[in-house]
């Protein structure tokens, strides 16, 4: 019986099938586990160890290296405030202080209602759009204290604040754990095929033919080729 729910167990298998060695799937599977529970539980790590042929100690050893994995429950909304230099120059620290005092928690803390966890984070690659914070990794560019207050009001009211981010993003703001609202899906039959490195023999075919030669019967884009 898998720790993952049925749909995610299929996703887990699908993820494993994308890598030549199963251990490579540890980080994607930790994300998947975090998506299911909002944080990475010990039981999830045991399952991931089984799926990837590793030990739970290895899974935790890998997982705890990375900031995004939470090994204890956090809020449904993770507010990450950048205070690195570009944001610092334009008020990132003041924004952090506003957020901390508004929510009544210090960086690293979670509000009593379990809705918000605040973190003082490093550069999130929005430097020209400073100061910046993210909620569940959705960007809010050139943010000021009003922006944050509006975002909180939206979230508490069940509205998506995502477009207030002015970051080209739209739609619902997923709760913590859900990183991508879309996943890669490789259609059966379109997969080139993943082979463990020790089972690969020789150069791939096109290197031998020295060209991207048409394969004859398998032209999948024939319509376009005829244009």
């Amino acid at each position: 019986m898998s720790w993952f729910d049925a749909a995610r167990e299929r996703t887990a298998r699908d993820i494993l099938a994308r890598y030549p060695k199963p251990k490579s799937a540890v980080i994607p599977l930790l994300h998947l586990a975090q998506e299911q529970e909002g944080w990475v539980t010990p039981a999830a790590m045991g399952e991931i160890a089984d799926l990837t042929g590793t030990t739970p100690a290895e899974v935790l050893g890998t997982g705890s290296f990375y900031e995004m994995f939470k090994f204890h429950p956090v809020g449904t909304h993770l507010v990450n405030v950048c205070t690195n230099v570009s944001c610092q120059l334009l008020g990132g620290e003041e924004l952090l202080h506003h957020i901390e005092s508004t929510l009544g928690v210090k960086s690293g803390g979670t509000t009593d209602d379990g809705m918000f966890t605040v973190e003082d984070v490093e550069c999130v690659a929005a430097c020209t759009e400073a100061p910046c914070f993210t909620v569940n990794y959705r960007y809010f560019h050139r943010a000021d204290t009003d922006t944050f207050d509006e975002v909180v009001a939206d979230i508490r009211a069940g509205r998506s604040p995502i477009e207030r981010g002015a970051a080209g993003d739209a739609g619902e703001l997923p709760i913590h754990g859900t990183l991508g609202r879309v996943r890669q899906q490789v259609p059966e039959g379109r997969r080139a095929g993943v082979v463990p490195p020790d089972q690969v023999e020789g150069a791939p075919s096109w290197m031998a033919t020295m060209s991207g030669a048409p394969t004859g019967g398998q032209v999948v884009d024939a319509a376009r080729e005829e244009e």
Binding site: P20, K21, K23, S24, A25, I27, P28, L30, H31, T52, T62, F65, Y66, M68, F69, N84, V85, S86, Q88, L89, L90, E122, C123, A125, A126, C127, T128, A130, Y137, Y139, H141, G168, L179, R183, Q184, V186, P187, R190, R191, A192, V195, P197, V200, E201, A203, P204, S205, W206, T209, M210, S211, G212, A213, P214, T215, Q218, V219, V220, D221, E225
Partner: protein, 471 residues
């Protein structure tokens, strides 16, 4: 020409110059396959597939496509380092953009994922790489979604996967989510991470990825922006590419200018022919330091780069010149600081970054960066000691050795700090923390002393005097 902000591509400013990687950004739906195909998408791939792989490699080599991740090494040459006849080989795309000040790869991934995918496919085709891993920084949720969607479209349409465009070229492109660790941007750490391990750098030698990389196999690691250039080169030819920029640094580059400028933004700029001054003060670019203020210092190439000052403004945006002046263009991240900036505080913030992001593998970086951070925090808190400046320099010297002994001859020593840095560490992260300490102490020692002796913030007029507001 005053440049055009493009709101849906947040931060991007169309400065009217030639475009290689941002040509679709004006379209709001630039990330869709439909828009991509309508604007020449995958034409570079078609052009590549019509030629032998070795020709494609040669085309990129002839373009002198310099790596855009930080080191600036020519991609075509790097591609040639795979040992012959060792298979399989892999492509790993470094989309772990986390260098402080850097914002360009996220934009490329969010706004034009098909361009990146196309670049990956051409690279795999040219070098016989059997799988591509697109390692995207974990915090970039939208970028991941856009790439996932683009890959799903491209697989469905036959551009990726088995028998690409009906040829015998087959390759899987796998989107891989990172999980938050700056050091993973270092290519050997990236490979460790992709193998499911802690992202701790491997020692080079022997672990040069092109020879011993992912799963011990030859592996090409390229930055997102680097690969985003490849379709254009194949569609338009190396010669056309070399007509842009300078001879040593052809083509265009994305520069992200943040901080105290009037119009911060991401600009696609011809390399080598534009200067820092142009970029900071030009009307089509950043339009000057914010009103009523003067430039105090700037970071020319991301948090790891030694800091620059007024006298460096007329250097061209070219790796060689910037390197000769003692810093680097790095990841194309420019952080501009005006005279209101507290040098000690800014220095501390940058060192805190390295201390937090040290992977912990080697002792000098693990212990040294944290020690530096503690000393700087103490100085900021008004508990500095007169010996702390020498201590900072000597701790730094034990991470990134300069002429021995630095502390006893601070001026001579600092001037002679070698660049690129020597290191007692495995990777450059630790030495990067030293770069900003030596840069700031060298220029603003009096600010440190003022903090230590009087526990006070800097007087504004003590910042670099005689500054012009630019032209």
């Amino acid at each position: 020409m005053t440049g055009l902000s493009v709101p849906h591509a947040a931060g991007y400013v169309d400065n009217g110059g030639p475009k290689v990687v941002t040509s679709r950004f004006v379209h709001e739906d630039s990330y869709t396959l439909e828009r991509s195909l309508a604007t020449g998408g995958y034409e570079g791939l078609r052009a590549a597939l019509a030629r032998p792989p070795a020709d494609v490699h040669a085309e990129v080599r002839d373009a002198t496509l310099l790596g855009r991740g930080g080191a600036g090494f020519p991609a075509g040459v790097k591609w040639g380092f795979c040992p012959e006849d060792v298979w399989p080989r892999y492509l790993v795309v470094n989309g772990d953009e986390s260098e402080p000040g850097t914002y360009k790869d996220r934009l490329l991934m969010e706004r034009d994922p098909h361009q990146l995918i196309e670049g990956c496919l051409i690279t795999c085709y040219a070098l016989g790489l059997s799988q591509c891993f697109l390692y995207v920084r974990g915090e970039m949720a939208l970028a991941q979604e856009r790439i996932a969607t683009a890959l799903n479209e491209a697989y469905e349409a036959g551009y990726v996967g088995r028998n690409v465009l009906g040829t015998d070229f087959s390759v899987d492109v796998t989107l891989h989510w990172g999980a938050g660790a700056y050091i993973v941007g270092e290519e050997t750490a990236l490979i460790e991470s992709l193998e499911g391990n802690r992202g701790m750098p491997r020692l080079k030698p022997p672990y040069f990825p092109a020879a011993i990389g992912l799963y011990g196999q030859p592996t090409i690691v390229n930055n997102v922006e680097t690969l985003a250039n490849v379709p254009w080169i194949l569609a338009n030819g190396a010669e056309a590419y070399r007509r842009m920029g300078s001879e040593a640094s052809p083509g265009t580059r994305l520069f992200a200018v943040s901080g105290h400028v009037k119009r911060p933004g991401v600009y696609e700029v011809e390399q080598g022919v534009t200067t820092f001054r142009d970029l900071f003060y030009g009307d089509e670019f950043c339009q000057g330091i914010r009103d009523g203020h003067q430039l105090k210092m700037f970071i020319p190439g991301g948090g790891s780069a030694p800091w620059f000052f007024q006298e460096h403004l007329d250097l061209p945006l070219e790796a060689r010149d910037v390197g000769a002046a003692g810093s680097m263009l790095g990841s194309g991240a420019l952080v501009v600081m005006d005279e209101t900036t507290d040098a000690v505080k800014a220095c501390h913030r940058m060192v805190r970054f390295f201390a937090r992001e040290s992977c912990g593998k080697c002792s000098p970086c693990r212990e040294g960066t944290n020690w530096e951070e503690k000393i700087l925090a103490r100085i900021l808190d008004g508990h500095g000691r007169p010996s702390d400046i020498d201590l900072l320099l000597d701790v730094g010297d034990n991470i990134s050795p300069g002429p021995y002994p630095v502390a006893s001859h601070p001026d001579e020593g600092l001037d002679a700090v070698p660049f690129p840095p020597r290191q007692t560490t495995i990777c450059p992260l630790g030495p990067s923390s030293v770069a900003c300490i030596t840069s700031t102490i060298r220029r603003f020692r009096h600010e440190f002393e003022a903090k230590i002796t009087r526990g006070e913030a800097i007087p504004v007029e003590a910042a670099h005097p005689g500054e012009e507001t630019g032209s």
